[in-house]
């Protein structure tokens, strides 16, 4: 047992921190919140260059194999810097695509995700994060909480069809491009079932330099460079969630779909559908996005149609695994958000004076910050323990602990900043609002606590 980050992992965190500090992420967040994704895509590329997405992609597709510990390290830093975009979703999409064991589709999409040339979004619920700027949209019914009835829990819809060679070209120099392996490729043995024990206890390869420069023939990322892409017409029989109507009391049927989205890196190859194309950079008018309390997040109802996959145990397993990784990455991101909030608030209360003294000398202020510190410091080992076991109960525990610690810290940060903290123009707001949003993303506290309890009596 050596439950500590090693030198390389710490160096990875430090290099990400330095890169993100230099990148002035608050201004990127503000661009992103205005719908201008230019600076965000540029940052995305640098994050990919640093190797972050490679940590979720198998080696044969140009990644470094799934490395949950390093992903946790990376997402803590991404959270600390409030980096916008479907970061968690891209990682989870990669895990899902790999798990489907359809080499054709994986080969088309995964190298571009690893390299940062493509951005994916993914949901097991009814709304997809930042679907307007993602190149790939995946949706699957939550394998854990979906209610019985159509669509079945593990049904998956896929568009475009897997045999359409329309994904971004893999870089020609990719050494790991392998021929299709349709039956049980060797790497499948590394995650035979969920939960999966961490396969590697040896030190990972150093994460930088990035093995995946952006694909040379990808168009430059930017909000106005999305060409129109086809969207199949909504079938009359598909129920669409109405954004303004009250939501039903029980979980609504998830319209699971794996659909491509108007995409910068996906050429407008026609599909079997022939609907009028929506304007490229805005969502379909029938599906206006919901703004989030976090201004850097917009949540898009799923478009109709999609490419269904037959239900299979393998699909279920892959979806479960993707969900686990999404939850772990969200928890790590939340911890980073909380750590940043604590750091900023500690700095603020040292310099803000009232009644002639720094407010940080008041005992009530100290104790609230001490409580935030305790909550964050006990969430941290849960995260890394989870990254090692990847058991659903552990992941759920880490999600609750990290998100509750981050939200508690956000409440403290707002209260101790007072009115200045309540303003959108003060950068603290970028973290405050994210702490709230991440709390419900990828399984709220209720869902996760139920999973902790359903784990059954076992020795930890």
């Amino acid at each position: 047992m050596r439950f500590l980050l090693d030198v390389e992992q710490r160096a990875f965190a430090a290099s990400l921190d330095a890169m993100l500090t230099a990148a002035d992420t608050p201004s990127v967040v503000r661009d992103w919140s205005r719908g201008d994704h230019t600076s965000g895509r540029a940052l995305w590329s640098r994050i990919a260059e640093a190797g972050v997405f490679s940590l979720a992609v198998e080696e044969k597709y140009g990644g470094m194999g799934l490395r949950p510990v390093e992903l946790t390290v990376a997402f803590i830093e991404l959270g600390r810097h409030a980096v916008p975009g479907p970061l968690v979703e891209t990682v989870a999409a990669a895990v899902l695509l790999d798990g489907l064991d359809e080499a054709c589709r994986a080969e088309r999409l995964l190298p571009a995700l690893a390299s940062g040339a493509s951005v994916a979004t993914f949901t097991t619920g009814r709304y997809a994060l930042d679907a307007d700027m993602a190149d790939v949209l995946l949706a699957v019914a939550d394998p854990c909480t979906a209610v019985p009835g159509p669509p079945p829990a593990a049904t998956l819809y896929v568009t475009p069809p897997p045999d359409h060679p329309e994904g971004p070209p893999t870089p020609a120099d990719r050494p790991s491009r392998l021929p299709h392996t349709t039956a049980d490729p060797p790497t499948r043995a590394r995650h035979p079932a969920a939960p999966v024990p961490h396969p590697a206890t040896s030190a990972p390869q150093p994460p930088a330099p990035a093995p995946h420069p952006p694909a040379p023939n990808s168009p430059p990322p930017g909000p106005n460079s999305h060409p129109p892409a086809p969207v199949p017409p909504p079938p009359a029989s598909t129920p669409q969630p109405s954004p303004s109507a009250p939501q039903p009391p029980t979980p609504a049927p998830h319209p699971p779909a794996l659909v491509p989205h108007p995409s910068a890196s996906t050429p407008p190859t026609p599909t079997s559908a022939s609907a009028p194309a929506p304007t490229p950079t805005s969502p379909s008018p029938t599906n206006p996005p919901h703004p989030s309390l976090d201004p850097a997040r917009r949540l898009f109802p799923l478009p109709p149609g999609g490419d269904p996959l037959p239900t299979s145990p393998q699909v279920s397993e892959a979806a479960a695994r993707a969900l686990l990784l999404a939850r772990l990455a969200t928890a790590a991101q939340a911890l980073g958000v909380g750590v940043a909030l604590l750091d900023k608030t500690v700095a603020y209360v040292k310099q803000r004076t009232q009644f002639g003294v720094p407010i940080g000398s008041f005992q009530a202020v100290k104790h609230r910050l001490a409580d935030a510190k305790i909550a964050l410091e006990f969430a941290r080992p849960l995260l890394f323990g989870t990254a090692l076991t990847l058991s659903p109960g552990d992941v759920a525990a880490a999600k609750v602990a990290a998100c509750e610690a981050a939200y508690r810290t956000a409440r403290t940060a707002l209260q101790l900043h007072g009115a200045i903290g309540y303003t959108a123009e003060y950068d603290l707001s970028l973290w405050l609002t994210k702490a709230r949003a991440l709390r419900t993303a990828w399984g709220g506290p209720r869902t996760c606590r139920a999973l902790v309890l359903s784990g059954g009596g076992r020795r930890w």
Binding site: S292, L293, P295, L299
Partner: protein, 379 residues
Amino acid sequence: MDLAFTQEEEAFRAEARAWLAAHVPGAALPSLETAEGFAAHRAWEAELAADRWSVVNWPVEYGGRGADLVRWLLFEEEYWSAGAPGRVGQNGISLLAPTLFDHGTEEQRARVLPSMATGEVVWAQAWSEPEAGSDLASLRSRARRTDGGWLLSGQKTWSSRAAFADRAFGLFRSEPDLPKPHQGLTYLMFDLRAPGVTVRPIGRLDGKPAFAELFLDEVFVPDEDVIGEPGQGWRIAMSTAGNERGLMLRSPGRFLAAAEALRTLWTDRGSPRHEEDRVADALIGARAYQLFTHAAASRFLEGDPLGAESSLNKVFWSELDLALHETALDLLGEEGEFADTPWSEGYVFSLAGPIYAGTNEIQRDIIAERLLGLPKGRR
């Protein structure tokens, strides 16, 4: 001891209920914190005022009905229970008007109050300054004597409603060299469109300009807009803090309505037992707040002054409001994150509760020192 209302009081309640049922807009108005919503809410004030419902507790001559505290409580219960819009005139009605009744001149009341009652003039408060938050007495904005009035200079901030309002009121330092910080302050009213005033709206957490910074550069204010004696502003501002104004800051009807809405949301979501505690506690808290207010109103009507219990009140309603909205967002599940729902608008508003009108930390200090008699510490 009783909670019974007279026949006349019940008739008043019934009249209010009937009027509201006929007039409350069917759909929610746009957010008060937007230009469009502000205008819509101003129009609603006019509609209220047309039938004398905007300031029921004011004398008839200024647009009210001369209702007593009991009727005011009944009206507020009916108002919020009917789902009526938020009150854009709130700052003027609950903060400035009581001061004018106690310390203003007849001329000031006649000039200021009627247009406040109709929403024709909407007032913003201008208390805080960048360096004077919890430590409010440390104000730096200046009022300098000039012919026939005063010249205001300095910076105010967290001026709620100021992004769209017409006029503002606040304290300014007119005698800068006095030994104690709360001496030499003067209470003034001024025009937000006067020369020398720059209003910079500030977006709150959800980006909506719920308040503004005010930059004042030699803004002329005539003597007629000084309230009370110059230099006595602190005393004047504080003297009405402990009267029924404290009661009226956040009316019980508001939380009763919100708690009932939460219960409805909970029921609509299938009455999940795992949220039973928090929903029940919201209902219990709203009822407790209502009855606490009834008790305070009863004491007030008997002539007892209301004092430090307003600190109990402030902490209680602000924590109730926040807990209630957090519960609602949790009930909404993944949609709890959406910014475009009434619940999230209410949540963002509730986050400010523990901060404004004296932070809850300051209120707890006051409770401990004034109500419990604990020794002053350095905090």
